[in-house]
Symmetry: C3
Subunit: 273 residues, 3 copies
C-alpha cells in the first residue's frame, strides 16, 4: 500500500511551495527534487499568494522565522486553504521561545493544516502547553519508547482528532496518526540526529507525498516517514569509516533519489495500531 504513495509522488511531480528556514533550505530543495517533485521557495508577503497559486502544496517551517516571513506564512496558508491545496506545519523550536510557540499556535488557529510534523517536544508544546523543547531537538525525557508506546499512540490520535489532521511525531520511533489509526514506524538510524535538517527534509517531501496522494493523507505521511528513514539506513550502509555527518547528509538524499519501489517495499518497517 505505502509503496503506491511513493509511486504516485514520482509520477505526479508536485510543485511544493516552501516557507522554510535558511539553515537547511538547500537540502530541503534537493530532497524534494530527489523524490521526483519540484520545490519553490518564497516568503515575501507580496510574493507568496501568486506562488502558492501555481503550486500543489505548502510546507510551512518556522525555523529562523522573522516578522516578514511570519506574515508570508499567514498569507500563503490562507491562500492554500482557499485553493484546497495541502498544507503542512513544521513547528521548529515550538517550546523553545515564546515567539515560536505563539506563531505555531496562531497559524493553527488561522489555517487548516493537513498535517503537523515535529519532534515529540514540539508536538507536546502545541498539544499540552508544556514547554520542554531543547532548542530545536526533542527533550530525551519526552521520547517515544517501547514502554510508553500505547500511551503515546493514544496521545497522537487524540491530538489528531482535536486538530482534524494527521499528526506526525518523529524520533527513534515515529508515530503517524489520524483520529483512528496510527502508523508506528521503526526505520531510520540514530546517526541522522547528527545532521542538521533531516526533519526539515522530511517535512518537504511529506508535503509532496500529500499533494500526490490527496485521497490517502495518512498513508501518504506514513510513506514519507518510511522513505526518509529507509534512505537514512541505505545512506548509512554506503559510508566509509572516515566519512561522517556531512557525507552522510549527501548519502541520504542520494538514497531518496535512487531508491527503487522494491527497496521501499522490502525495507519499510511499520505496524498499524
Amino acid at each position: 500500500m505505502l509503496e503506491t504513495c511513493l509511486e504516485n509522488v514520482r509520477n505526479h511531480g508536485a510543485l511544493v511551495h516552501n516557507i522554510t528556514n535558511y539553515v537547511t533550505v538547500n537540502d530541503v530543495a534537493n530532497a524534494i527534487l530527489a523524490i521526483g517533485a519540484s520545490p519553490i521557495m518564497s516568503d515575501e508577503p507580496e510574493d507568496v499568494e501568486d506562488i502558492q497559486t501555481i503550486c500543489q502544496g505548502l510546507n510551512i517551517n518556522i525555523g529562523t522565522l522573522n516578522q516578514q516571513s511570519i506574515e508570508g506564512m499567514k498569507r500563503a496558508g490562507k491562500k492554500a486553504n482557499e485553493l484546497g491545496h495541502v498544507v503542512l506545519l513544521d513547528p521548529v523550536g515550538a517550546g523553545a521561545s515564546h515567539l515560536r510557540t505563539q506563531t505555531a499556535l496562531d497559524l493553527m488557529k488561522m489555517i487548516h493544516f493537513d498535517v503537523i510534523r515535529g519532534n515529540i517536544s514540539e508536538i507536546k508544546t502545541l498539544a499540552l502547553g508544556t514547554s520542554t523543547t531543547q532548542g530545536v531537538d526533542a527533550n530525551a525525557a519526552d521520547a517515544v519508547t517501547e514502554e510508553n508506546l500505547d500511551t503515546m499512540v493514544t496521545f497522537a490520535k487524540h491530538f489528531a482528532a482535536s486538530q482534524d489532521c494527521v499528526i506526525a511525531i518523529t524520533g527513534a520511533i515515529d508515530l503517524v496518526a489520524n483520529a483512528n489509526t496510527c502508523y508506528v514506524i521503526r526505520n531510520g538510524k540514530p546517526q541522522m540526529g547528527q545532521i542538521t535538517g533531516t526533519g526539515c527534509q522530511l517535512s518537504g517531501i511529506m508535503t509532496a507525498f500529500l499533494a500526490a496522494n490527496p485521497d490517502t493523507p495518512l498513508e501518504a505521511c506514513a510513506a514519507a516517514v518510511c522513505d526518509m528513514g529507509l534512505a537514512g539506513e541505505i545512506g548509512y550502509s554506503h559510508l566509509a569509516a572516515y566519512e561522517g555527518n556531512s557525507t552522510y547528509r549527501n548519502r541520504i538524499i542520494d538514497a531518496l533519489n535512487q531508491m527503487t519501489t522494491m527497496q521501499f517495499k522490502e525495507g519499510a518497517k511499520y505496524e498499524i495500531k
Copy 2:
C-alpha cells in the same frame, strides 16, 4: 578561443558581488571559488554600494527576493553601472508571480545589464510578456529543440539587440546571443535538472567570466555555459550507481574546480550561428 576566457578567469581572480537567493547561495559561492574567482554576498541596502565598489562584477538573482533585497539590488546595480562594472540579471521565476516579473522588468529599466541569463520561460516572459513559467523551471512547451532552433536563435538575437546585452537561454540546448551572433551549446546532462541551483551557479561563474574578459562578453558567457555543462558531464562520469542528486551536486563543483584547459578545449560542444 573560449578556453582563453577560462584561463583569464583563473588568472584574473575577480571578486564577484552576489545578491542571490538563500536556497542555493552556498553552492554559488563554492562554484565561484571553484573556478578561481572570489564571491561576496551582501543584500542590505546600506551595505551594497560599499561592497560593489571593491568588487569587479555584480550578479543579481531574484529568487527569494524580498522588499529589502529588491532595494539592495537597485542600489547595487546603479553603483555597478556608475563604476563600469559588469552586471548580470538572473530573473528566477519571472512569469511565476507578479512581483518577480515586475521586479525583473523594473531592474531592466533602471540598470544596464551586460547579460540576462535564464531559462526559456523566464526569458520569454521578459521579452514577450507571456507568462508560462512553471515555478522556477521552464515550461516544457517552451523548450529550445532541434526543430525550432533557427526560430529561437533569431528570437535570442532580437531580444539581445533590443536590450543591448548578451542573452543566455539555458536548457537542454543553450543559446548565448548578442545582436549578431549566437553560440548554440550542447554540453550538460539532463540529470542536472534534479539538482537545485545549477542555473544560479552558472550565473555566478558567468559574472566572474565577464569580469575577467571585459572585451569579449559574448565569448565569456559562452565559455561559462560550456564550463558548467562540461562540469555536469565530468561530474556525472564519477558517480557510483547508488549516488544520486546530492553527491552529483558536489561532483559538478568539483569538476569546475579540477577541469584542465585541455579538458575544456576537447569537451566544449558548440556551434556559432
Copy 3:
C-alpha cells in the same frame, strides 16, 4: 592539554546560538553537530533573547548582516552577557564596508566578547582602523608570516589586552592570544581557502569549545583552531584526484566528526609564545 578541551566539548554537548550569514549557515550547523555540540539559529529580535536563555553560548557572525539581524545581534549579545554565557564575534568583512566595520565596532562597545576571531585584515581593521580587507578574504600584504611573527604575536597580545578577551587571527599561520600568552598554530591546508565558510565553521565550533571549557578560554580557542586545521589536513588526505573544493568541504566536516583524541593529540601543531 588541548585534547582535554576536545574531550570536554564532546562530553558537554553545548547548545550554541548562532546569528550568522545565510551563505555558510548549513555548514556551521553541521560542523557544530560534528563535534558533538548542537546548533540553533535565530536572528529575529523578538526571538533571540528567549533562544539565548536556553543556550550556553552565542556566535555572532556579521556576514550578510541586515538592519533586522543587527538588532538581533545586539539584543542577543546583551542577554548572553547578563546570563554569563560565552560570546564570540566573527567580524566578517570588517574593513570592506562602512556598515560592517561600524557594526563590529558598535557591538564591541556594547557587548563583552570572550573571543574575537577573524582574518588578519578584519582584526587590523578593528584594532587599528586600517581598512585593507579584500572582500571577505584577508589582504595578502597583511599576512602573518615567519618573518613578521614576533611583531604579530605582540600585536595580538596587545589587542587582546585592550579588549580583555581572546583574539584569534586565522590564516596560513594562526595566532590565538590573550594579554600574556599566544598559541602559534600551523595546522591546516592552503586549499581550505577555496571553500566558503571554513572560518565561519571555526567560529561556530570555537563557541562550543568555549562553552564546554569555561575556565580555560585561551586553550579552548586554541584547541578549536587545531581541530579545524587538522580536520582540513585529514579531509584532504581522503580526496581522489578528480575531487575538488565541494567534496573537500564535506570531508573536513566528516573529519571533525570522526577525529579521535589520539589523532588530535598527535596532529595538533602548535607552540606557545
